[in-house]
């Protein structure tokens, strides 16, 4: 049971990777990349978690109380920002591809033009 959170992270990573590999639509593929990234959230949070400790917000608990690790939570915030930017950029690439080639299926993007 103690290792369940790591297993969830690994499962999210693999299922997202499967989605990217087997995808037949670029928008679907971008969302699968998002699923892969969410595995890193689960991993970071499970590393920072301590059994029985409260959140690191000291406005309602007295300062100095042992709490869960705030550093990995801050890293996860960075992670979320990076995911948003990656998804936004990839989606705009997908829009451009759809404009140029009229399709979002990567298997049909075989035409090369220079």
């Amino acid at each position: 049971m103690n290792y369940l959170a790591y297993g969830v992270a690994a499962w999210l990573f693999l299922i997202g990777l499967y989605g990217v590999v087997s995808s037949s639509n670029l928008v679907h593929m971008v969302l699968c990349v998002g699923v892969i990234q969410s595995s890193s959230y689960v991993l970071l949070l499970s590393i920072g978690y301590r059994i029985g400790r409260p959140a690191p917000i000291f406005s309602d608990i007295s300062p100095g109380t042992p709490a869960v690790d705030p550093i990995v939570q801050a890293l996860m915030l960075t992670d979320i920002v990076v995911e948003v930017t990656v998804v936004a950029l990839l989606l705009s690439l997908a829009v451009q591809i759809h404009k140029r080639h009229g399709t979002l299926n990567p298997d049909r993007l075989t035409k090369v033009s220079g």
Binding site: N2, Y6, P66, I71, L89, S92
Partner: protein
């Protein structure tokens, strides 16, 4: 698999830094939210980089989505002809109109209270940027443009991005280190707690909401131009 086996069980990972930050944020930094303390005070320079990741990607979206001369216009082969988008229902319009003002207020609250409770510039900025989406749901695109002109969005983004550097540079000019907290640290548990963090938060909030609104407006424009054709 080897790494997986060597990991300590969930809930028992030891990290000295985390405990150190937890025990010092209130006494030394006067910030009651340890995550904000880490992001905007202890490693404020990294957050500057993070903010510029966002800035650059919005720039990338703008560059990628601009209208090009040789762009083929007309029907796409995988588009259903004669398909119309249904109008939003009255209930959705009333609800989203009612939610616009509370959303803006809530976003501002989250931006400014990152030192006290969970929140801060990134989270509040996203909430602020969702207000224009609600406006788009309850009105036409032209109304949205009237409330939220491009200039306002651009200025907010620019002030947000520049503000962070200006704050950091001001510290150097005053004889400190880049982003060193030179303001009085204030009373912990209030908005003034943490000194400069409130201003950095505000800058990041402006940048995030401006950046997301820019991306949103660009995507909407793209959609509507396609519909007109």
């Amino acid at each position: 698999m080897l790494a997986y086996g060597a990991m300590p069980p969930v809930g028992f990972v030891q990290s000295k830094y985390g405990d150190m930050v937890n025990s010092l944020t209130v006494s030394e930094r006067h910030i009651t939210d340890a995550v904000t303390a880490v992001n905007f005070d202890v490693r404020g320079f990294d957050t500057l980089g993070e903010e510029f990741i966002l800035f650059t990607s919005v720039l990338g979206v703008v560059v990628l989505m601009r209208r090009q001369k040789d762009e083929p216009a007309g029907d796409h082969e995988d588009q259903l002809p004669g398909r119309t988008i249904p109008k939003p229902s009255d209930a959705a319009r009333v609800m989203s109109f009612a939610l616009v003002a509370p959303t803006v207020l809530f976003g501002l609250y989250i931006v400014t209270h990152g030192q006290v409770s969970p929140g801060g510039g990134f989270q509040g900025g996203v909430i602020l940027a969702s207000a224009p989406l609600l406006l788009y749901l309850c009105a036409r695109y032209s109304d949205l443009k009237r409330v939220l002109p491009d200039k306002l969005v651009d200025i907010s983004e620019a002030i947000g991005a520049a503000g962070y550097i200006v704050i950091g540079g001001a510290c150097v000019a005053l004889g400190g280190v880049f982003l060193q907290n030179l303001l009085p640290l204030g009373k912990s548990g209030t908005v003034t707690g943490g000194g400069m963090v409130a201003f950095i938060d505000l800058g990041v909030g402006l940048e995030v909401s401006g950046g997301l609104c820019t991306a949103l407006l660009i995507y909407l424009e793209e959609l509507l131009e396609d519909k007109e054709q």
